[in-house]
């Protein structure tokens, strides 16, 4: 068993438990929301499976192929943190249109993701498939080893995941 991987996996699980406990304080449907966001991210993980490889995780952290439920949980955490920052910290007492919130979610998800992606790349947990690297310009985000294309890719991912989460919650 890889100890570095185990540390990362446990850390993600602890952060998830922390976020879920916080959500339960003010969300009646915290469990439902959590499951829906997990499904949304998981759909995206299925869709993007050929684009990147999740290395070094312990075998129990993989669902199939290189799709890892731990990575899925990590993404879920990033989205919930961005929802909490926008809804509960920045605009706690202000009524803001859903459209403005949406753009802020994308911005904050991207800001959180860049250093985390840099860390995953640096420690060898993440690599990109040749099909993807062939499309890269070779430019990196300053002070990181992250391709600049991530600044477009992350908001696009979020722009598909957030509507799924918001819409399915609204009809459930």
């Amino acid at each position: 068993m890889n100890i570095t991987s185990l540390t990362l996996e446990i850390l993600i699980i602890i952060v998830t438990i922390g976020i879920y406990s916080y959500l339960k304080n003010y969300e009646k449907k915290a469990k439902q929301k959590f499951i829906i966001l997990f499904i949304a991210v998981f759909l995206f993980e299925i869709m993007s499976e050929p684009m990147w490889i999740n290395h070094l995780f312990n075998s129990w952290a993989y669902l199939y192929g290189n799709v890892s439920w731990i990575v899925t949980l990590g993404w879920v955490d990033i989205f919930f943190v961005s929802f909490i920052i926008v809804d509960k910290l920045i605009f706690k007492n202000k009524k803001l249109s859903e459209k403005i919130k949406f753009w802020l979610y994308l911005l904050i998800v991207t800001i959180i993701t860049v250093p985390l992606e840099a860390m995953l790349l640096k420690y060898g947990f993440r690599s990109y498939s040749s099909a993807l690297t062939d499309t890269f310009s070779g430019l990196l985000i300053p002070f990181t080893g992250v391709p600049i294309e991530l600044l477009i890719a992350v908001p696009m991912i979020a722009a598909l995941i957030i509507p799924f989460y918001k819409y399915v919650n609204s009809i459930e």
């Binding site: 949304a40 759909l43 995206f44 299925i46 869709m47 993007s48 499976e49 050929p50 684009m51 192929g65 859903e98 459209k99 498939s129 040749s130 099909a131 993807l132 062939d134 499309t135 890719a153 696009m156 991912i157 722009a159 598909l160 995941i161 957030i162 509507p163 799924f164 918001k166 819409y167 399915v168 009809i171 459930e172």
Partner: protein, 184 residues
């Protein structure tokens, strides 16, 4: 050229027909196109769209002809479910729409592969080859992959459609200008 013209004609036919029944059809179609484009841009590394006319490409091998083809499949599927499942819950409609789009998408994908318009990149081919076959013919990964992105796109459309009043306003403005032009 024939493929491109057929896709454009089919898309126009359905948009005009559905616009008569539902005045928000153009708005729906535009939102679907945005959703499909997001997905196509994001996944451009996974496949190659080839053998289309040069004017049908938007960016590298991202083709607007394939985009409107996909968008028409989603639009028509949504209309079918809205028509036949009027009284069903939104969740049931959402799931049924996803299933209908997925079934049509399998055939559409088969057509573009057979016409040599679509080719998968090496990592996708490898994953498909490694995948077990459903009913002996359909790779499991393909069977999971298509519904996965279909449900994300349909949710994108359902979420953004009521928030895109600007498109309805534009359509109304164009209608007014056309009417004025006819009167003159």
């Amino acid at each position: 050229m024939i493929f491109e013209i057929i896709v454009i004609l089919i898309a126009l036919l359905f948009i005009i027909f559905l616009q008569i029944k539902d005045k928000h059809t153009i708005k729906k179609f535009v939102v679907i196109v945005i959703g499909v484009l997001l997905f196509e841009y994001f996944t451009q590394a996974l496949w190659f769209n080839k053998n289309l006319e040069s004017w049908s490409y938007l960016y590298l091998d991202v083709s607007w002809i394939l985009t409107i083809g996909w968008a028409t499949i989603v639009l028509v599927s949504m209309a079918i479910i809205e028509y036949y499942q009027k009284k069903s819950s939104e969740l049931k409609k959402f799931i049924l729409t996803g299933l209908v789009v997925s079934i049509i998408a399998f055939f559409a994908e088969w057509v573009v592969l057979a016409l040599d318009i679509r080719e998968y990149s090496a990592p996708v081919l490898k994953l498909i080859q490694e995948s077990p076959l459903l009913f002996g013919i359909l790779p499991l990964r393909e069977a999971i992959y298509v519904p996965a992105f279909v449900f994300l796109i349909i949710a994108f459309v359902k979420y953004w459609e009521p928030r895109m009043e600007i498109i309805d306003n534009l359509v109304n403005d164009v209608k007014k200008i056309t009417k004025r032009g006819k009167k003159r």
